[in-house]
Symmetry: C2
Subunit: 358 residues, 2 copies
């Protein structure tokens, strides 16, 4: 195939995909998807390496299959001969990774903070409540949680500080309290199982700074949490409305200028267009982005994968065996009092065209 | 000292500092500065750990010295008894680091890309031109340059791509070409020594993709560079005007949606307020921030340190022995055609209240 011909083919492929997937994406996302397929034939590994929304990926793959460029069986995605000649004409390179093996690319050695508490945290996590779909749960690996807390320690957001965790299936509050560094750690969650688990851990492990409280984040925050914390941590659901709900609540909890917030954001459920809208929202709220480490967080595969929205979109259905759902870690710091209201949120905060796991 | 008393003292310290240093900073910057002084008594190490503008730091230290809280001799900054009681009453924790030793916190193992070329790059760098103040030069460690290029490779911005490096005392063009991955690497620099050096390396090492051209970035770009590259790399001077000059030139060189840019930004010469203005500018230009890894780049100490602007501000003057000047690595990706003009830049692009090294 000639290069010009292949480029035309790519354009029509992107156009056809645009009709199937009503979300923003760019030809660069298509390039990333093709690069990933040159590096792996495993569907879930291809999602991870593509760094593009699942909704787009599935539509793109479907169109490639319809066009005879790709085959899908037993969880494998493989170029056909026509597909191979197509990507080779486009001169697309395979996806590459140069991740540091020692820290899994996070840049953080959490053992420097946690020492022997690493094993204590792992032991505590053995009996954690399983992730359930009702609350869009799905928790990160223990190493991720420990690295997040170590990172916050390094940034001066942990030691001697008052910390709130908004939604804590990742058990960040437990890891934070285990360090003994924070003055106070409050976890809030809608899920009674988690609230009870964290409070039981606090008692059993004598973590006096740690407490969990049941609260539905769609409801306004009680007054005594407003402006009461130095640091918030959360891992929001990624509909734009749901994301804002989490982060706005976090901002409301902060004491003011110089306070910091942490949250995750994926490519699986958020286009770069949504990333830019979120970044604009953060800046307009009076925050500055001080850190953005992509693929910092890896998620343990959850039990409800066959019930999630994107399962139906898959061209071939197998359950993932390795970590495939990752997120970037953002840190923001307040430069001015945030312009946010403590209002009730109506409607379905999980609904969004780019959502994949709800 | 009582906590309330210490807080009042801190407020008046910050107020007095504000009169000396006409740049934006927050009480959190003061906290970071105090945290750093609890972790080290070495002046340069304190700058590195403070993550705050040099201009602010020097004014803050000066005021602390005037208030009898700090002593400065032989390059050491030490709390007096009054100073120790002050920070202890404030319950400030020492600055902490949990950096992964294997990758120096970058999260990148550049040997996975470069293999034996690592030594080749080190050998080439042995004869590089020294950094000079005329062009606000100051190059990064070899490991930094290699890690930046490996990172760009991982993001798909190197292999088969056309790359422009705007100002290349870091020799990023050489490292990029050494991988053999890019289709084309063009380095532009105002400094003839660098242009000649890079072109000599290209010839001696048979790097056919590599070329350097002399150009003053204050002048409009020649037409044949406009919209001609997939990736730009630069390490801008940090006055807001100078920074915009570099990055706008970079944006103008990009082919369009999906193209990417890399640049560095420090805390030494840029307040978080300037960071937020820069982030707003990037979003308004049609880009999204996809990565922001702080302290990714470490700079080799340059020869003109005693002539730099901030030398006069230092409360005690010694030449630094270790890396102290660091910068964050930003990656941006275009979501739309950038809204930027190819205009001539007038005046001093290095001048800025927050500048420290010019």
């Amino acid at each position: 195939m000639e290069k010009s011909q292949a480029k035309e083919k790519l354009s029509s492929l992107v156009e056809a995909t645009r009709k199937k997937a009503p979300i923003p994406f760019s030809p660069r996302d298509a390039e990333r998807a093709l690069s990933a397929l040159l590096a792996t034939d495993d569907l879930w590994e291809a999602v991870r390496l593509s760094h593009a929304p699942m909704r787009f990926l599935c539509a793109f793959w479907e169109q490639m299959i319809a066009d005879g460029l790709l085959s899908a069986t037993d969880g494998k995605l493989r170029f056909t001969d026509a597909g191979r000649s197509f990507v080779s004409a486009l001169e697309i390179a395979p996806a590459r990774e140069v991740v540091c093996d020692a820290c899994e690319g996070r840049g953080v050695d959490f053992r420097k903070l946690f020492g022997e508490s690493v094993e204590r945290f792992f032991a505590i996590c053995q009996n954690r409540p399983e992730a359930i779909q009702d609350y869009d749960q799905g928790y990160v690996t223990e190493a991720t949680t420990l690295a997040r807390i170590a990172f916050a320690w390094q940034r001066g957001d942990l030691e001697g500080k008052e910390i709130i965790v908004l939604g804590d299936d990742d058990l960040m509050s437990v890891a934070a309290a285990l360090t003994g560094a924070p003055k106070r750690v409050l976890a809030i969650d809608i899920d009674e199982r988690l609230v009870n688990f964290i409070n039981e851990v606090a008692e059993r492990e004598s973590l006096a700074s740690l407490k969990a409280v049941k609260h539905d984040l769609r409801e306004p925050l009680p007054d005594d949490w407003l402006g009461a914390f130095d640091t918030f941590l959360c891992d929001p659901t990624e509909s734009f409305v749901g994301f804002k709900a989490f982060v706005e609540r976090g901002l409301l909890c902060l004491k003011g200028v110089g306070s910091a917030g942490y949250f995750g954001l994926t490519h699986v459920e958020s286009s770069l267009d949504k990333w830019s809208r979120i970044q604009r929202f953060l800046l307009e709220s009076g925050a500055v982005i001080t850190d953005l480490r992509d693929d910092f967080s890896g998620y343990v595969n959850w039990g409800y994968i066959e019930e999630m929205r994107s399962w139906d979109w898959l061209p071939t259905k197998v359950v993932p065996k390795k970590v495939w759902y990752c997120s970037a870690l953002f840190r923001i710091e307040l430069l001015q009092k945030p312009k946010v209201e403590n209002r009730r949120l109506e409607g379905d905060i999980f609904e969004d065209e780019e959502a994949a796991t709800t």
